[in-house]
Subunit: 322 residues, 2 copies
Amino acid sequence: MSPSTAITPEKILSGDRSALARSITQAESVLPQDTINTRELLTALMKHTGHSTRVAITGPPGAGKSTFIEAFGNLLISNGHNVAVLSIDPSSTRTHGSILGDKTRMTDLSRSEKAFIRPSPSSGITGGVSPGTREAILLCEAAGYDWIIIETVGVGQSEVAVRDMVDCFLLLLIAGAGDELQGLKKGIMEMADLIVINKDDGQNRDHVKRAKSDLSQALRLIDHESGNPAELISCSALEKTGISDVLGCIEKFIDREKTSGRFLERRKQQNVRWLDDLIHRHMLNLFYSGGALQDQRLIAEEELRSGKKSVFEALDLVVNSK
Amino acid sequence: MSPSTAITPEKILSGDRSALARSITQAESVLPQDTINTRELLTALMKHTGHSTRVAITGPPGAGKSTFIEAFGNLLISNGHNVAVLSIDPSSTRTHGSILGDKTRMTDLSRSEKAFIRPSPSSGITGGVSPGTREAILLCEAAGYDWIIIETVGVGQSEVAVRDMVDCFLLLLIAGAGDELQGLKKGIMEMADLIVINKDDGQNRDHVKRAKSDLSQALRLIDHESGNPAELISCSALEKTGISDVLGCIEKFIDREKTSGRFLERRKQQNVRWLDDLIHRHMLNLFYSGGALQDQRLIAEEELRSGKKSVFEALDLVVNSK
């Protein structure tokens, strides 16, 4: 890497957007040298991290996440904040092309100097979340962003992993979804700190009113992990109404969490999970770094393919060779 | 385990439903003894596996997957087949309760002696798919089921893993979903061998007609992994129309795959992925089986929690202790 494109702690701290983008790419990489560089960079930056509010925004396709994040992000910026949006795209694993990279999404926000938008392909390793997402949060914090929004698409595995990286988990829904959708949200609703029903506008208002009443009943039946049921609120991202109420709810939630000590305890717990992920990744590297084992793995594959060995016999060929 | 509840190869082969259910539970378990038992059981049964048609049915919430699988499964049974349905439920990771276990789903099918329905919680390890799904497929085959349907809910990580376990990947959609939903399907559509638009009934027919025309145009732009674009067809699971056409499409697809040699090559490739998963799991067990390392991990956690060590320093405490 030439000196002009080198990623230095100073460049990240100065808010150099290109350096930040490249540092996240580096954090997402599984190449040994990139892992070492990321570790060095983060070690130098660690004392400049941790000060942001980390919020996950998730919801089923069609809930209006982009429109909501655009309205919400612009409100934060007008309140004097700097906003980083990290979008996790679960559908792009195979092709490594990220549909969230579409420039037409969040056009307003993406033009702001106070916003940094980063689509990331997801990875199979950690259940939908890129191996570099935790690192990306810290890098954005060091670069001066004091609100970090993690956007996930779809409802599934990635949300469980993302819950483990944020202070507040916001679930965005729309009214009038079918019964099956209501069912699907069960596991997710137990994780949500705040449920926002979007598209509370026009002819949709009656639907939203009914959905709020239904949901608030359902929420009372849910055993929320914090002991408190999720807050329920509606807004229209399109008409930009209710957005500041959502912000108010998040801030109230964070305050309550800080007072109770849960905020700090959760962040500590999240660090422990991060440690376990790092141990896990280290082991994988360790195991496969031996060339003999790689060779043995190829021999086992050949035996398996030719039908000479069952999958269990092929396994023995690899693991007993060590 | 008492002799009467012991899982034997003979019981599985005789179609003992209770033994089959318990053998899948055993395959999903990560306990060392369960892993050993599963391996022994599968080794004994291996020659009775592989003869089924393995189909994944996936689609967004609300597409009518349960209704479709009920209609499709009943058709298969009336054609003389035995059908196993393995449902992967990505939302139940945290609670380990499976919403798909709901008895009200697929009521007709679940009453049939020719059908075996098994909801499984998903796991973080393999990106939404339970560690035992591959094993469950083989166990169902040994028990005499010649059609295996893997149902996944939602759109995301689990589909990528499931694609790697089946012969045919069927994507169930409905007409009239928003633009964002269309976008989300991009990665999934590249994996689909067959796209079925459900709810082609009543007032919805015009929507379906338009959606078919839109989709068939979109499909031409997609670089499908098989080189052939996915087949596109519509049906009404509710009115049970078009279901046999779907079956015909699947059978035609499988025939074509067998003729081209892709069917066998894919199954071989899937076995290799299975081998890699087994190696991966074996390594994890190996690493953590040492008690000293476990202790070191707890010390590292304590240092991390107290703030005395950064996550990277804590990592060193664990990995350099070996």
